[in-house]
Amino acid sequence: MFQNFMINAFETAAIVAVVAGVVGFFTVLRGAAFPAHAIPNGAFAGAAGASLIGVSTLVGLGVFALVGAAIITRLGRRERTDVAAALTLALLLGLGDLFLSRSNEYASEVFSLLFGEILGVASYEILPTAVMGLVCIAVIAMLYRPLLLSSIAPDVAEARGISTRWMDFAFLVVLALTTTMAVPVVGAFLIFSLLIGPPAAALAITDRPSRAMALSSLIALITVWMAIVASYSTDLPVGFFVGFFSGVSYAFGRWWAMWRKRSRRAQRSTQSA
């Protein structure tokens, strides 16, 4: 079980999980589930375009992820975020459809970009993933306070001179970076699951931002590692297990929050009685 490719998978998964946990914390806090889905999926179209003109897939992903972030921000000036994300996603995937129709050898490579092939990660892919992951974390660390404030209280942030629009854009750029890092290894669909499930669970369990981020990364890490082990031993796709475990972790988070609320109420009523 601990062959070389498994070690690669565990290492890459750890990097992706930690970054997804942190970025996902802000995704859930900002209610940006749709952009978190639209950017990785739209970026997938860029990979198709890159293979058409013979450029590295990573470049295609990165360019389309950034373009997606920019279009969502621009359209968001006129529309709600979800409408902007829907329009952007449709546009980018429409282009993807065009690219795929021009290229002759699409099928399996494209498929792997949607669902990812974490068990097929090569050693030389780990370093770029780690570097991009570090950049994501560094950008979040740099923007930490204004980003947090504008996520929780946009009005207050605006009053203190933090432009909501710029923060939106900055956050979507981080999302684009995360996408570029994660899509080649875990796929467009899975990075979305990781950006939503574990952070939502963490936010249900704790109220403190730093703890929530750490917890969210931890849950993401457990989710991916368990998924890899489960996939390896059952020969079913990793994607299924990541999606499933993310959902389970969220359900657990909600249950935990409910249970704690109930026990607190019981405590209070026994105190007052």
């Binding site: 209610g31 589930a33 449709a90 429409g94 993807g96 459809d97 669909f189 999606g243």
Partner: protein
């Protein structure tokens, strides 16, 4: 240069084109009707997500030898109920609930596709669910498509007034005695059905484009609900027809007879309409977006 008349020769007598026109007209009408409410209610994400959620049902149905449409519809209706059950009041909470259900469904899709041995190419199935192709729609699906479309239209007509009131302000609807939750579930089921219909026949991208694009375009233009619904429907149908015509004609433009894919063409037309209308409204009144005005 008679680029068009020549390129469009045989357009209406071509069987795949006729099927494409029929199916796209029905789906565009239904998507626009449901889409206007999706945009007002902030449920565009749910609208898009149903195309991915339903895909899990679709691939599961293929696995056990059923029509994908049946899998799509049942999975989406079940998901609609689950989403409304998780669904917290605020739009953010709703988007989160949608995201959780979508994430799990994408995982299920991965599972079903991998188990599906009858299909030679897993990727082929994924790609066709995602992008679809109007020119390869099975004409025998048309009756089922029409029936689902009628059910959706019936649901929206039945819920019309309480739906409108809850969409403007759920609190106002609540005090007016509207069963807000029930209306919400009813609408979400209509959305789930409409998107199932669209995603199975024309693919996930087009489904999202036709749901959100025309609605977002006309909401800049009119303040009357009826007019908005009619205009969105007209715009959706027009985009489909123009897109189909361009795609059909494009095959004769290139040397190797490989045309532009129809989904791309329709999305492009939807987007061109959207951009021109928002440009023109801004020119005409120095129109300020409601959202800009709120932010100030």
């Amino acid at each position: 240069m008679d680029l068009w008349p020549h390129a469009l020769s045989g357009f209406f007598s071509n069987q795949p084109v006729r099927t494409a026109l029929a199916v796209s007209t029905i789906t565009a009408l239904v998507s626009a009707l449901v889409g206007v409410f999706a945009v007002i209610r902030g449920q565009s994400f749910a609208g898009h997500a149903f195309s991915g959620i339903g895909a899990a049902g679709g691939s599961g149905a293929v696995l056990v030898g059923l029509q994908p449409l049946i899998g799509f519809v049942s999975m989406n209706v079940a998901a609609a109920v689950v989403m409304e059950m998780i669904g917290l009041r605020r739009a953010r909470g709703r988007n989160l609930a949608t995201g959780i259900v979508l994430g799990v469904s994408l995982g299920l899709s991965a599972l079903f596709l991998s188990l599906d041995m009858t299909h030679t190419s897993r990727s082929g199935t994924t790609i066709s669910i995602l992008f679809g192709s109007l020119f390869t729609v099975d004409p025998s699906l048309i009756p089922a498509v029409a029936v689902i479309a009628l059910v959706v239209a019936g649901l929206i007509a039945a819920l019309y007034r309480p739906l409108l009131l809850t969409s403007v302000s759920s609190e106002l609807a609540f005090v007016r005695g509207v069963p807000v939750r029930l209306v919400g579930i009813g609408y979400l089921v209509a959305l789930a059905l409409a998107v199932s219909l669209a995603a199975v026949t024309i693919g996930a991208i087009l489904s999202t484009a036709l749901l959100v694009g025309p609605a977002a375009t006309v909401l800049h233009l009119t303040k009357r609900t009826g007019a908005a619904l009619a205009a969105a429907a007209a715009l959706g149908v027009a985009s489909c027809w123009i897109g189909i015509a361009i795609s059909y004609a494009s095959a004769s433009w290139s040397t190797d007879a490989r045309g532009w894919p129809v989904s791309f063409c329709i999305v492009a037309v939807v987007f061109v309409f959207y951009l021109s209308v928002s440009y023109l409204t801004r020119l005409r009144h120095g129109f300020v977006s409601p959202h800009q005005q709120l932010v100030k």
